[in-house]
């Protein structure tokens, strides 16, 4: 399967207007953003953006080199498949009345989703995991009727380099 997305982990200065500079660059150069997540880092001077770029809109080298010209962009790393741990979080409100609530909670259990809110004919679930896992549960929930959906977009960090001792193997739960 051809690569559809590239993940860029972009360290930016934590200043007003930085998101606008990055978003503006993407739009004026015709690069498509598939998803974007921004958050503070352990160093308050910097924020980290995880940008998932549509691979067909532009060569990734060109995207990275143009991004690198932004003064507030400090560091860019492309995280290729297998070299990064990626997670995404989804909130979904699903139709579930007494007749099918059991089926929905069963699915939730399989995917280790948590039920955050319950009403007479709906449930709100939270599920975190790899984007593939999120895609799967979203697909399985759809027949019940999803009335509200929010995904965070991917966040990612490079894997700890091989050769260093991993203190504990953290199991991927799904």
């Amino acid at each position: 399967m051809p690569v559809r997305h590239h993940i860029l982990s972009v360290l930016v200065e934590n200043r007003a207007g930085v998101l606008s500079r990055v978003a503006g660059l993407f739009s004026r150069r015709g690069f498509n953003i598939f998803s974007l997540a921004v958050s503070p880092t352990d160093d308050e001077r910097f924020s980290r953006m995880t940008i998932v770029v549509d691979a067909e809109s532009a060569p990734i080298e060109q995207v990275m080199r143009q991004l690198d010209k932004l003064i507030n962009v400090v560091h860019i790393k492309e995280l290729s498949e297998g070299e990064a741990v990626e997670r995404e979080l989804m909130l979904a409100t699903v139709r579930a009345d007494s007749s099918n609530r059991g089926q929905v909670t069963e699915l939730a259990a399989i995917f280790e989703a948590r039920i955050l809110d319950v009403g007479p004919d709906a449930l709100t679930l939270m599920v975190a995991g790899s984007p593939d896992k999120i895609d799967s549960i979203e697909q399985l929930l759809r027949p019940f009727g999803i009335t509200g959906l929010q995904r965070t977009g991917r966040i990612a960090l490079p894997k700890i380099p091989r050769g260093t001792v991993r203190l504990a193997a953290v199991p991927e739960s799904a």
């Binding site: 200065e13 004026r28 060109q62 003064i71």
Partner: protein
């Protein structure tokens, strides 16, 4: 010290000798300490003029141009020069006033989101939040504008910040963790480039504006002479390699000469130095120089591979990279006893093309005045180091074609953005920067009408530029396209030769106004203009409106389909 005083002081610390601007409400506090400053201020009549003057100054001197205007409409008026400078990599520092910090976001009088609007047309911009940030931001602004690929920056100063007091300091260094200075050229890549050069049978140097930005004209000349490789100079590089040099091929591209265009098409190696494979040079990209390998040197890594794959891509300052390539060629020749292929056939082919397809026009003694003739006469009746400034359109192409540029920094024009109205203010800026040089603006009548008011500035500030209007009473380049590609359906391109009366208009603006409508008066009138040294001069050359710019590669077509003259073009006559 107030923020306003700190701002002026910081500009002085950065070596600013002159700035171009126009005061207004939000920038008032900064104009007050200007009265005590060593900086010369040129009061423009429109803020766009301030920006283009700063560009002309930067083009001619290599130093950053500085402009200062107020908020709102003044800031939006200077957006065009910022974009122009962005596309042509001109170092520009623009200071704008802003409504007080507390009023931002309230739709206050003369408020606009200046940093938001100018984000895509600047290398970087700053909205100052504390007066104590001013010295650091000004220092960073000059650093960013002039380091790496040059370009425009903007500093937005809220009025209350200008009035705030602060403790003066001057920073030792800038704090820009995300701004990388250019790296020295990779010696391995320089060696690879040298090997390609020594193996090439039909190499061409494709010199761009980056040569001038990097002050690399001498380095380019050494490389060309060492290797015996011919050089094309793009619109932005005219003067970077002397036109009277035996290896000079002149301008390539949409209106390039046959030899320059075709040499690139047939070459087996293009050595792109500070050029960016602009669509006006390449024509249809897949058909551009199909058999050529590419060595691409650019200080901006994002240019490498942006349009055309580079077999050897060197992200470095042009002068350093050319020196490294030259040294590598010398080393290859010395160490490995490599002999470059015999290029006698190729050189003969080029000479044959030059002889067969020179630029041509026909000036009859009693016929209508030809614009190309006016330019050649100007060229022949002015000093060799005259600075020529052009607007955008037919006159610009003819100037680039017919002038002989033998020195760097003698041609100032708007290439990337193609800003009509650039010539008059840019000429003022160039003359302010180089007062001892003769500065001629060659302008079109359409362009002239866009920014002519800056001749009032020139008269008032005693900046004696000279302006040649090639008045063909049309938006000539648009007319040419309508003639060739729209079946001679002329839509909204006629301007009139007499409205306005350019001579009276020039006189009203404090200039000498002259008019020429036949070939024999051209030279004497130029001499008359050259003799005026205390005020600007405008010559209204009434030229033949039917004259078109040739050769021409129609937009989006292959450079192989170059149209040499009217006989070959559609609708030509």
């Amino acid at each position: 010290m107030t923020g306003a005083q700190a701002l002026i002081r910081s500009l002085e610390m950065e070596g600013t000798e002159v700035m171009f601007g126009l005061p207004g409400g939000a920038i008032l506090p900064v104009y007050d300490p200007l009265l005590e400053s060593s900086i010369r201020h040129i009061l423009v009549r429109h803020e766009q003029g301030a920006g283009h003057m700063a560009e002309g100054y930067a083009h001619a001197t290599g130093r950053p141009g500085v402009a200062m205007v107020t908020s709102g409409p003044a800031a939006t008026n200077i957006v065009t020069p910022l974009c122009d400078a962005m596309l042509d990599s001109i170092p520009l520092v623009v200071v704008t006033g802003q409504v007080p910090l507390s009023a931002i976001g309230t739709d206050a009088f003369q408020e606009c989101d200046t940093t938001g609007i100018t984000m895509p047309v600047t290398k970087h911009n700053w909205l100052i939040q504390n007066a104590s940030d001013i010295p650091m931001v000004v220092r960073e602004a000059f650093h960013v504008a002039t380091t790496g690929r040059p370009g425009p920056v903007l500093v937005d100063v809220p009025k209350d910040i200008a009035n705030q007091t602060m403790e003066w300091y001057w920073p030792d260094a800038v704090d820009l963790p995300g701004f990388r200075a250019p790296q020295p050229p990779d010696p391995g890549l320089a060696r690879e480039a040298a090997r390609l050069i020594l193996a090439a049978e039909r190499p061409v140097i494709y010199a761009g504006g980056g040569i001038l930005k990097a002050r690399a004209a001498e380095a380019l000349r050494r490389l060309a002479e060492l290797t015996g490789i011919h050089v094309v100079t793009t619109l932005m590089a005219r003067g970077a390699f002397p036109d009277d040099h035996p290896l000079a091929l002149g301008m390539p591209g949409m209106h390039g000469n046959y030899t320059a265009v075709t040499a690139m098409q047939r070459s087996d190696l293009l050595i792109a130095l500070g050029s960016r494979f602009d669509d006006r040079v390449t024509g249809k990209v897949p058909a551009f120089a199909p058999g050529a390998k590419i060595i691409h040197v650019d200080i901006d890594p994002a240019e490498l591979g942006k349009v055309r794959y580079a077999d050897v891509g060197i992200a470095a300052d042009c002068r350093a990279a050319i020196a490294a390539i030259t040294a590598a060629v010398e080393a290859e020749l010395a160490e490995t006893a490599t002999v470059a292929p015999d290029r006698a056939d190729w050189n003969a082919t080029l000479a044959g093309w030059q002889a067969a397809h020179p630029l041509a026009y026909d000036q009859e003694d009693d016929g209508p005045l030809k614009p190309q003739f006016c330019i050649e006469q100007l060229r022949d009746h002015t000093p060799d180091d005259t600075i020529v400034v052009s607007g955008v359109g037919q006159h610009q192409m003819w100037t680039s074609q017919y002038w002989k540029f033998n020195h760097p920094y003698t041609f100032v024009n708007s290439g990337g953005l193609g800003t009509m109205g650039f010539a008059v203010p840019a000429a003022v800026g160039a003359k302010v920067g180089k007062p001892d040089r003769m500065v001629w603006a060659i302008d079109g009548d359409g362009c002239f009408q866009m920014t002519a008011q800056e001749l009032v500035t020139a008269s008032a500030e005693r900046v004696p530029i000279k302006v040649a209007i090639l008045n063909n009473a049309y938006l000539g380049m648009v007319r040419q396209w309508q003639e060739l590609f729209y079946k001679e359906r002329y839509s909204e391109v006629y301007l009139s030769p007499d409205l306005p009366d350019y001579v009276k208009w020039a006189e009203a603006m404090g200039c000498v106004g002259l008019r020429v409508d036949n070939p024999e008066d051209v030279a004497p009138t130029i001499e008359k203009a050259n003799a005026v040294d205390d005020r600007p001069v405008v010559i209204d050359f009434r030229v033949d409106y039917r004259e078109k710019v040739y050769p021409m590669v129609a937009a989006g077509t292959s450079n192989d389909d170059i149209i040499l003259g009217p006989a070959e073009g559609e609708g030509g006559h």
